[in-house]
Amino acid sequence: MGSSPVAVDDSRPCNEAGNEESEVRSRKGSGHCWTSREDSDVVLRSPCTLKKLVAVNARMTVTQRATVEGTALRLCLEYCNIGMDRDLTLALIKCWVLRCKAFRISDRRVPLSVFDVALMTGLPTMGRRVELDGEEVSSEVGLLIRGAWLNGNSTRW
């Protein structure tokens, strides 16, 4: 685990002459061009279990709710079940501008920043960096969760 504050550089200028892959593809025709026929064939899958979290939230006791409210995850209690709109998601992915970390919508660029994620999720932006590929650590709660998982009670989220 790191201990330094997270710094994300969202401030880089995004000029028109930048190497924006999706624009290069569509404008110069040197690469792949999106077509509507391809869209209709792609199935999008998401392992996100928001629906199950919303169900757990709906069934929790007063004590459990009060316990969660005392943590950094308190705003997860307010999450709603939102289904993924396949066409919208695909369209947004296709108009992503790599260099700017933004969606190109018509003539505008709509950046996706850490602060947007914080606003939508209620999660902290500042603090230690979360290492997503760190070492696995054996612990009491870990053994319980892994045990239940391996016993087949929770093999899917």
């Binding site: 199950k52 950094a72 998601t89 996706l112 994620v117 999720t121 230690r128 979360v130």
Partner: protein, 98 residues
């Protein structure tokens, strides 16, 4: 995993329940990467629930989201696909636009 929350839902075990609940959020909602596994490397973050507030979780969610958008765009650009998996809290990208 949500079932494990139910199994440990007695109020006298609320500490353990909270750890499982937090793991459900971290691994299943914020950073999911497979429908059949869990983000076991995140398990140690729920060890001490007082420490969980010390981490920049929004930045971690953003990182996975950007990575999955860019990976998917790259895969789609290579040609027609029958199926593609979006990791992370991917519904956020449509929430942002709506």
């Amino acid at each position: 995993m949500a079932e494990l929350c139910e199994e440990n839902s007695d109020d006298d075990r609320v500490g353990l329940w909270l750890q499982i609940y937090a793991f459900v959020i971290l691994s299943g909602v914020l950073h999911p990467c497979t429908p059949y596994g869990a983000a076991w490397t995140l398990l140690h973050y729920v060890e001490d629930m007082n420490e969980i507030r010390e981490y920049a979780w929004a930045e971690a969610v953003w990182r996975v989201l950007v990575e999955t958008i860019e990976d998917t765009q790259k895969k789609l650009s290579k040609g027609p696909l029958s199926e593609v998996q979006l990791n992370g809290f991917c519904v956020l990208i449509q929430v942002m636009i709506e």
